[in-house]
């Protein structure tokens, strides 16, 4: 048993940390609000460092690492507000490695490893709520082959994606699965959506009788009834790590500010009101790390307690990021709510992540159900 990262894993984080520190900051982040919102330099820089090859098995040109190896890196990405399509591409990679057909793996994984395939995921629908219960999008076959119909929302960076992984009910059994298609296909209409964090670049996607093929189904001809559940869990685990990264960053910024901002002749960080807030934030973040890292392990191992571990992480890290972003702004006083200082970028991203892939209440209910099932098994 060991609940720590290896030296190698810490080194990996350092590498990404150094790169991001040199190549990314809030100014660059804000600039992404213009244009297509995609930072190609950053993408290729991250690709060069191996980000997209980490989860790809060696036989497909990847590093053959596990989700545990990604944990600290994803926390770093969260910290620097690097989100989709990088994080979603990583999520999709995991899915293809676990559930792709041999043919799909051979075709897609080498491209992914090289950073040449950007993937977005499309799960939510206008009336779906959290989770997969109410997904209506549907792939049905008739004499002309398979057709995909449905409405998806909040598909990040959809226009820039090479491939979109769409959650849908497949065939007469209505079994939930994932369909991969290019946004350029006929019948796909994208419309950009206004979002609390405009850097997220969400799109609504209408699928109007889009022609698909069995090879577009993740797993090909072999149904993958557990793939959507895994997609949701991996996405939640990634969000938990990103939320933890954001919280850690905001605490660092707040502590630095409190140490130098003088009022009443003293740095405000010497007042207990500020000091104790910071201490509570630090404690919450440390606990969030325990949860997020364990979630990453459960994903890596596809552990029996995967659902519970992921939901623990998502709920706790979401609550923590909320607390820390709010308090971080409070500590900055008036400066905290200026656009210029940019703390709001962390707040916005944290809020979007908090309400993506299930909020804290949704995940707590999953924890409860999983725990009851556990106790029943023990009896």
């Amino acid at each position: 048993m060991d609940f720590d990262f290896s030296d190698q894993q810490y080194l990996f984080r350092e590498t990404f940390h150094g790169f991001l520190e040199q190549n990314h900051d809030l100014k660059k982040h804000a600039a992404l609000l213009e244009g297509d919102g995609f930072d190609a330099d950053l993408w290729w820089g991250l690709a060069d460092l191996g980000l997209f090859s980490m989860l790809v098995p060696e036989q497909f040109g990847g590093l053959g690492l596990s989700f545990v190896d990604m944990a600290l890196v994803l926390e770093e990405l969260g910290m620097e507000l690097v989100g989709a399509p990088a994080s979603e591409t990583i999520v999709a990679t995991d899915l293809i490695v676990r559930h792709g057909s041999e043919k799909q793996q051979a075709r897609l994984l080498p491209l992914l490893a090289a950073g040449k395939l950007r993937v977005a995921t499309a799960i939510a629908e206008p009336k779906s709520g959290f989770g997969d219960l109410n997904i209506q999008a549907q792939a049905a076959s008739n004499s002309n082959g398979w057709r995909l119909n449905g409405h998806k929302i909040m598909v990040p960076h959809a226009v820039m994606a090479d491939l979109i992984m769409v959650a849908a009910r497949i065939g007469p059994s209505q079994e939930l699965g994932l369909v991969m298609l290019e946004p350029q296909r006929k019948g796909v209409v994208l419309r950009e959506q206004s979002t609390l964090d405009p850097a997220c670049r969400f799109y609504a996607m209408t699928l109007d009788s889009v022609a698909v093929d069995v090879e577009d189904f993740l797993g090909g001809a072999v149904p993958q009834p557990t793939s959507l559940a895994r997609l949701l869990d991996v996405s939640s685990a990634v969000a938990a790590l990103q939320l933890t990264g954001i919280a850690g960053k905001v605490l660092d910024i707040a502590v630095a500010y409190a140490a130098q901002r003088v009022q009443f002749g003293k740095p405000i960080g010497s007042f207990q009101a500020i000091k104790h807030k910071c201490a509570d934030m630090a404690v919450a973040i440390d606990a969030a790390r325990s949860a997020a890292y364990y979630g990453a392990w459960a994903i890596a191992e596809d552990a029996v307690d995967r659902v519970k571990a992921v939901s623990m992480a998502k709920s706790f890290c979401g609550d923590t990021a909320r607390q820390v972003c709010n308090e971080g702004i409070q500590i900055h006083g008036g400066m905290g709510f200026t656009w210029e200082l940019g703390l709001h970028w962390y707040l916005r991203r944290a809020k979007v992540l908090e309400f993506s892939h299930g909020d804290a209440a949704f995940h707590r209910e999953r924890v409860m159900a999983a725990t009851l099932a556990e106790l029943q098994r023990q009896e």
Partner: protein, 396 residues
């Protein structure tokens, strides 16, 4: 204790209802909303405030000699209720009505009152507040902006920050240092500055909500007539306390409560509409708890305002009680907006401009704005110090 409405009260209410239905734009709150553009919105609000004034509904609690209505407490309460019910817009000259008015009524000369007060209600003159500086936030008494005597004028130099509505204002209540040799609380004066004077520059500060209600305001050799000092020279700190108490007091809070109540009603409507599969958000017992908590907290805000006003009417002094009210509502309102986003749930990330954004994204905007509640008008930390020291008597 009495919350019942007399026949006269009911007449007042019906008159107001009638006036609102005659004066609010047709389709208000349903198809017609405030302009999105900030400048347009400011003009809209000022226009609405003028309408209220023309209708005799502005300065409800002000003495009639300054253009007010001299209304009773119950009329003020009815007014709040009806404005909330109608979802009536805010005004623009909030600082004028809520802060400058009470301050001049208490500390101004009769000449100052007659000169300035009526034009506040008539919306002819909008006011802003020049108190905070980059290095004097929580520690307000350490302000640096200075005014030096030059004949029958003072010459003002320095910088203020968070001057809300400065871009729309003709006048400013300004805290300046007039004597550096005195201890920091004793060398401060309170003056009225014409924002159109040469040397005044306003630079909008964009906030996290994307709006620019706040500004940085620079004063460079701005000449202010000596008669524009309020109260005693170097006696400004005490006067500023009146302004701050008004800023934190029940008058201000009552107006805000109207807004929060309106938001809450809209939230409940939104929750009834929002489908999650086959059920509505409003049927989720967990959400119901959170919404109910906000209902209770916002309703108590109204009750506490009424309690506070009742006591003020009997002559009790404002002060630390105002800090209690401000600390209470700022956190209650932040809770309301957190709950609002939770109610929107998976749609919370979608904002104004998107056809799927519930309630046109207003809750997200409200959420962002709400982050400032616990910071402006004295941060929660400052309010807690005031309450603990002045009210509970804990040692400094």
């Amino acid at each position: 204790m009495d919350f019942t409405y007399s026949a006269e009260n009911l007449r007042f209410r019906d008159e107001l209802r009638q006036w609102l239905s005659d004066n609010l734009p047709i389709g208000w709150g349903v198809t017609v909303h405030e302009p999105k553009d900030e400048d347009e919105r400011a003009r809209f609000r000022l226009g609405w405030e003028r309408q209220l004034f023309d209708g005799g509904w502005s300065g409800l609690d002000w003495p009639t000699q300054y253009g007010g209505r001299g209304a009773t407490l119950i009329e003020q309460a009815i007014f709040s209720e009806e404005m909330a019910r109608a979802g009536a817009p805010d005004g623009l000259n909030i600082i004028g009505r809520n802060l400058v008015g009470p301050t001049l009524m208490r500390h101004g000369t009769e000449a100052q009152r007659q000169r300035y007060l009526p034009k506040i209600l008539s919306t002819d003159e909008v006011w802003c507040q020049g108190f905070s500086e980059p290095n004097a936030g929580s520690d307000l008494a350490s302000i640096n902006c200075r005014a030096e005597r030059d004949g029958d004028h003072f010459v003002v130099n320095g910088q203020k920050v968070w001057t809300s509505f400065a871009q729309y204002s003709q006048w400013c209540i300004l805290l300046v240092r007039t004597d550096r040799s005195l201890p920091k609380h004793q060398g401060i004066s309170f003056m009225l500055v014409d924002m159109r004077s040469p040397g005044v520059t306003v630079r909008p500060l964009r906030q996290i909500s994307g709006e620019s209600e706040f500004n940085e305001t620079f004063f460079e050799d701005v000449r202010v007539p000596a008669e524009n000092i309020v109260g005693e020279l170097n006696g400004g700190w005490k006067i500023a306390q009146t302004t701050l108490a008004a800023e934190r007091g029940p008058g201000d809070a009552m107006a805000r409560q109207i807004r929060f109540k309106r938001e809450l009603d809209d939230l409940i409507v939104a929750a009834a509409t929002l489908k999650r599969g086959s059920t509505s958000a409003i049927d989720d017992p967990v959400l119901r708890q959170k919404i109910a908590k906000s209902i209770v907290e916002i309703e108590i805000m109204r009750l506490s305002c009424l309690r506070s006003l009742s006591k003020l009417l009997k002559g009790s002094a404002p002060g630390a009680a105002a800090s209690m009210l401000k600390l209470y509502w700022s956190h209650a309102a932040q809770g309301l907006y957190e709950t609002a986003l939770e109610t929107l749930g998976f749609l919370a990330p979608l904002t104004d401009g998107d056809s799927l954004a519930p309630a046109e994204g207003r809750f997200q905007l409200g959420f962002l704005q709400s982050r400032a509640f616990t910071i402006y008008s004295g941060s929660s930390e400052i309010q807690r110090n005031i309450i603990a020291e002045r009210m509970l008597g804990l040692p400094r």
